[in-house]
Amino acid sequence: MMHGFRNARPSKLARGVVVLSVAATSLALVGCDDHGGDPGKQIGANPVLPSLQQYLVPPIRIAKAIGWGDETPTVPQGLQVQALATGLEHPRSLCVLPNGDVLVVESNGPKAPIFRPKDIITGWVQWFAGAKAKDANRITLIRSGNGVPELRTVFLDHLNSPFGVALVGHDLYVANTDAIVRYPYQDGQTSITAPGTKLTDLPGGPIDHHWTKALLASPDGSKLYVGVGSNSNIGENGIGAEYERAAIWEVDRASGAHRIFAGGMRNPTGLQWEPETGKLWAIANERDEIGPDLVPDYLTSVRDGGFYGWPYSYYGQHLDPRIMPQRPDLVASAIAPDYALSSHVAPLGLAMSSGTDLPANYRGGAFVGEHGSWDRTPLNGYKVVFVPFSGGMPSGPAQDVVTGFLDANSHARGRPVGLAMDRSGALLIADDVGDTVWRVSSAHPGSPLKPGS
């Protein structure tokens, strides 16, 4: 080596190239340490959208899962919170039956394939964040009297990454990740052993990037609406993998036939009917890796035949350069969603406030369960917010309702996912890191329940 040094005469050019490229590389590696702005500017109908940026090293900022210990979530004055069920296995969504029984869907996604070295890293990150829990693939039934659990049974077992549940008459529909299956249900039944009947296939493997299939029956029971998430962040698995995905399906309950009710929604979940107007509403997770404040996740009414941008554009006509070829025809028709929830909060639960057990300021609006960010500094989400509605449209800023999912060190005690209103009108929250179902109710005097916090 020393010998080589003496003999070699590197040109000035070569030396210059070394210095330049080392400098450029280190600069680029350091230059991506940026922080997100005030999420408040991205809540509501007109979010501030910064210009997009592309990373050399995309930020990963996850909250380590630590569990609750003796803690409980925090609620504002006038509300109380208690655990309805603990020790569950990754509870993701909830469904309340007419007799008040609560179905808890314990589920996790199928194993993700490895296409690129990045997918290996992503697997590690998810494990660290507590998202790699075993997939219980079952539905647990909780029967309670005024929030005090009385009975807990395995309601349905051996499912395939289930998420959505809907009951129409005596037909109980479960949206597995790859199919809607119908089971016979009798009032008061605590366990179903009868085999299911497949109504229709849904887009499942082999990639199944966004695996959750939200489910909602039409008020007359003739149709089922299914939220089918995209098969990628931004089309990196090829546009062919996105066939009939990133859409809300309308499935005919009698025949199982389907049509695309609305498209261009990256990961639509939380399908709900807005009680005043009877319109379909949904929440959606928007795309990653173009900045801490892009793209805001949203809550929106869903128009029949509407296109909401993904993957070609966001919030109307803001183009995403990561998809090629572009589709100017679709972009021209892209609808901007109604209400931004701010970036990377990951809304995965929606409940239209309908009940009588909550204080008056929580009637007439939507609760949104924000699972929390994994690629933004500072963290965003990790709470349940309330969006007030008036005349069938959001009418004000989102208010924090249930917090405390993060501790002072930004570790995750839990993460809220699916929401539901129980028969008495209390808010139920599935917590897939705390493995708990929380019940938030009015802290009116004379309540037999001790406030949780």
Binding site: R15, S21, A28, E236
Partner: protein, 152 residues
């Protein structure tokens, strides 16, 4: 093509009376150079027809090249310790190769982006730059080796 050049300048066994093996790190360097060059080819294919398969080929080729480069660095230490004949004009070659590896490291990150911009324009540019740097390195190395041989 460039890897052929490197090999040629590499395996010039010096006649010391007993047969000696060439330094191992050079073989690994050749492999990594071939992988990096392959990534340029698959990048060009993706630029022509943006099918994700080409982009996946590229990122695996770049990562394979980086792994080989890492092994080459380890082998270099062993070769040095083992007193194997390491070519005289080592400095410009080490530096040129280091630049190519650093650029490839950055390129691996760019290629890990999602969608079209994982390749066009920055990924493709970096892949091309890496091959240019490798070619220049080989050319400079060869020129210096020849001069060294001639000039004693």
């Amino acid at each position: 093509m460039k890897h052929a050049v490197i090999t040629e300048t590499t395996f010039n066994t010096q006649s010391t009376g007993r047969p000696r093996r060439g330094p191992i790190h050079n073989v690994l360097v050749s492999f990594s150079a071939a992988y990096f060059t392959g990534a340029l080819v698959t990048d060009l294919a993706y630029w022509h027809v943006p099918d994700v398969l080409w982009e996946r080929f590229s990122i695996w080729l770049i990562v394979a090249g980086l792994v080989m480069a890492g092994l080459a660095a380890i082998a270099y230490v062993f070769d040095f310790a083992d007193n194997r004949p390491i070519e005289r004009p080592a400095w410009p070659r080490v530096v040129g190769y280091a630049i190519a590896v650093l650029l490839s490291l950055a390129n691996a990150f760019v290629h890990s982006r999602d969608g079209y911009t994982a390749v066009v324009p920055l990924g493709l540019t970096l892949s091309a730059l890496v091959v240019i740097v490798l070619l220049l390195t080989a050319w400079v190395g060869m020129a210096l080796a020849n001069r060294h041989r001639v000039g004693g």
